[in-house]
């Protein structure tokens, strides 16, 4: 008879201690993983801290009146916040007006309508679009979107304009919206579609009444990610919206404009001149801080929304 077959009649606590070396190994693994997780947190905190520090220097030294003037001209001591924030928001709204319908449409087509053969071709094509460097799209916006589309819509439009930049950013975010939305819709169980078809619903009804509501949290997530991407997008705006040196406050989408990101890029590009010029260098961090706050607020709002919608279903 083997010892395995024999049942011990009594146990002592030691029988449950397990192997010591095994436990040590587990502790090491845990420590390594903890370090990996905390490093990213430490880096984020460091970034935010340096942002806050420099931004604070700026805010505490700048004349408050300079934050609300006619435009953003850091070298002349004019730091009009609303110029940049409204510029960013306008670009984002235009971008989402382009990427929302097109991205969602592409996602609905790919997930609900396209035969497998078509999907196999279209999906990689979309991913190629996602891989186009934003510099290229910036030039495309400047040399094609602006003259061929925007200036044809409004012949008063200047060559550098917010509209072309917004459309360019929109094109850049289409693949993002399409691919996250498509994933969300495809993860809706087939059984739900069958239930709908079984009740005599058409494809379009099934898509609108069943698939999209069931995928809504994923669709909202796609939208949020796209908005963050659009607000954070720099290169397209930097190239196509013009206003490299500075910008007057304007909400006219057919004129040049400045966004938070493009303002930062144009200042960082001219670092050595900026260094000497008093607060201009710190203003860069101030704008970075603004950008950070706007994105944070958006994310909080969006996650609230997602939670509320989830509860409804």
């Amino acid at each position: 008879m083997t010892s395995l077959a024999s049942n011990p009649t009594s146990y002592s606590l030691e029988d449950f201690h397990g192997s010591r070396s095994r436990m040590r190994k587990e502790r090491i693994v845990r420590a390594v993983l903890f370090t990996a997780a905390s490093t990213s947190i430490v880096i984020s905190v460091a970034i935010v801290a340096s942002l806050i520090g420099e931004a604070w220097t700026f805010v505490s030294q700048v004349e408050l009146a300079a934050l609300w003037t006619d435009g953003w001209f850091p070298r002349r001591g004019m730091y009009d916040v609303k110029t940049l924030v409204s510029g960013s928001l306008i670009v984002t709204v235009i971008a989402m007006a382009v990427a929302g319908p097109l991205g969602l449409g592409a996602a609905v087509y790919l997930s609900e309508y396209a035969p497998a053969t078509v999907r196999k071709v279209v999906k990689p094509a979309l991913e190629i679009l996602a891989g186009i460097p934003s510099v290229v799209l910036g030039f495309f916006a400047l040399t094609f979107l602006s003259p061929v589309i925007v200036q044809r819509l409004n012949d008063e439009a200047t060559q550098f304009n917010i509209a072309a930049a917004g459309i360019g950013v929109g094109i850049l975010t289409i693949p993002l919206v399409a691919s996250i939305s498509e994933d969300a819709m495809r993860s809706v169980p087939m059984a739900l579609r069958e239930a709908s078809y079984g009740l005599g619903a058409r494809k379009i009804t099934t898509t609108i009444r069943v698939v999209i509501p069931a995928a809504v949290s994923g669709l909202v997530a796609a939208f949020i990610v796209a908005v963050s991407r659009a607000i954070g997008e720099t290169m397209v705006v930097f190239i196509a919206a013009g206003a490299t040196g500075g910008s007057l406050f304007s909400t006219d989408i057919f004129r040049p404009g400045q966004t938070m990101t493009a303002a930062m890029a144009s200042q960082a590009a001219g670092t050595d001149q900026v260094r000497g010029a008093g607060l201009t260098f710190q203003s860069l961090f101030f704008v970075g801080m603004l950008l950070f706050l706007v994105t944070l607020v958006l994310n909080v709002l969006a996650s609230r929304f997602v939670r509320r919608v989830r509860q409804a279903y």
Binding site: A191, A195, S196, Y197, G198, L199
Partner: protein, 289 residues
């Protein structure tokens, strides 16, 4: 079959006019055939899941499909409302006609077919919507306007669920227990007032009391509908059905997967007492391997 009925059905692909309901035939007179199935085989890609199905489903009767798991009962059932169209690889061979209309004619719109032929699926699949909206979905899709409270209540009563949910109609259908979800799906199907109800093991998740009520419901509504039910429960088939089709599986010549086939189709009494085929007898008496 009266000629005008056939013509009406033929029109349904074009203008969606409903088939007039007929009264049950007087005793002794055979019921009309609703479905006429001949020489049907269903393939998933190259795999032949079921073959040689020929049977007629009669109006105002309950037809039961029984047989071991994998013999193609669900596959066959899904042919009656063109549900297999949704599976890319699925292909139906042979003829299935509904009131004399070839269901697989290219001119037939599957949406119109499914508005007349409702289905309850093997696994409960309520929408992630409120209980009320689940039941109201079918009527709304069919164009019903205005207040659907009565329709919803009647359907939930019919599915023996009303008393349990009448105070929580706004809650999600997903919050119900498995058995309640299945009854919600039954309510959802009968709310569209179909002509035929296809039920794929509707009671497999239900307790005996709820099962009894669903069986009562089936017997009650067969005055108006025609029902095909797939069941693994012999007693249920024996209790409620008028005719029973027994399917089994056999080893394929072309692949090592087993293909289902129809063995015997007859009055339920005959299937359960004096079946012609030995395989049927073995199955219904529990001697199936």
């Amino acid at each position: 079959m009266p000629d005008n009925l056939t013509r009406e059905v033929r029109l349904m692909a074009e203008n969606g006019s409903p088939v007039p309901r007929t009264e049950p035939a007087p005793p002794g007179v055979p019921q009309q055939a609703v479905f006429d199935v001949s020489g049907v085989a269903v393939y998933y890609g190259d795999f032949r899941a079921v073959r040689d199905v020929s049977l007629d489903v009669r109006q105002h009767e309950i037809t039961a499909f029984i047989g071991p798991s994998g013999c193609g009962k669900s596959t066959m059932l899904r042919c009656f409302n063109r549900m297999n169209d949704l599976i890319d690889t699925a292909r139906v061979e042979g003829d299935i006609s509904y009131h004399g209309v070839d269901l697989y004619d290219p001119a037939v719109n599957p949406v119109e077919v499914r508005r007349r032929i409702g289905m309850v699926f093997q696994k409960p699949n309520p929408f992630p919507k409120s209980i009320y909206d689940n039941v109201a979905y079918g009527p709304k899709v069919a164009g019903a306007k205005g207040n659907l409270d009565d329709v919803v209540e009647e359907a939930l009563q019919g599915a023996a669920l009303w008393d349990e949910v009448k105070d929580r109609l706004k809650e999600s259908g997903m919050s119900l227990s498995g058995g309640q979800q299945q009854r919600l799906c039954i309510a959802r199907a009968i709310a569209t007032d179909p002509e035929v109800l296809l039920m794929d093991e509707p009671c497999s998740a239900l307790d005996p009391i709820a099962t009894g009520r669903i069986e009562d419901l089936m017997v009650e509504i067969k005055e108006r509908y025609t029902i095909i039910i797939v069941t693994h429960n012999m007693q249920q088939a024996a209790r409620v059905s008028d005719r029973t089709a027994f399917f089994t599986t056999e080893v394929n010549e072309e692949s090592d997967r087993r293909t289902g086939l129809l063995v015997e189709y007859a009055d339920t009494d005959k299937i359960f007492t004096t079946p012609d085929d030995e395989r049927t007898e073995n199955y219904v008496t529990g001697r199936f391997g």
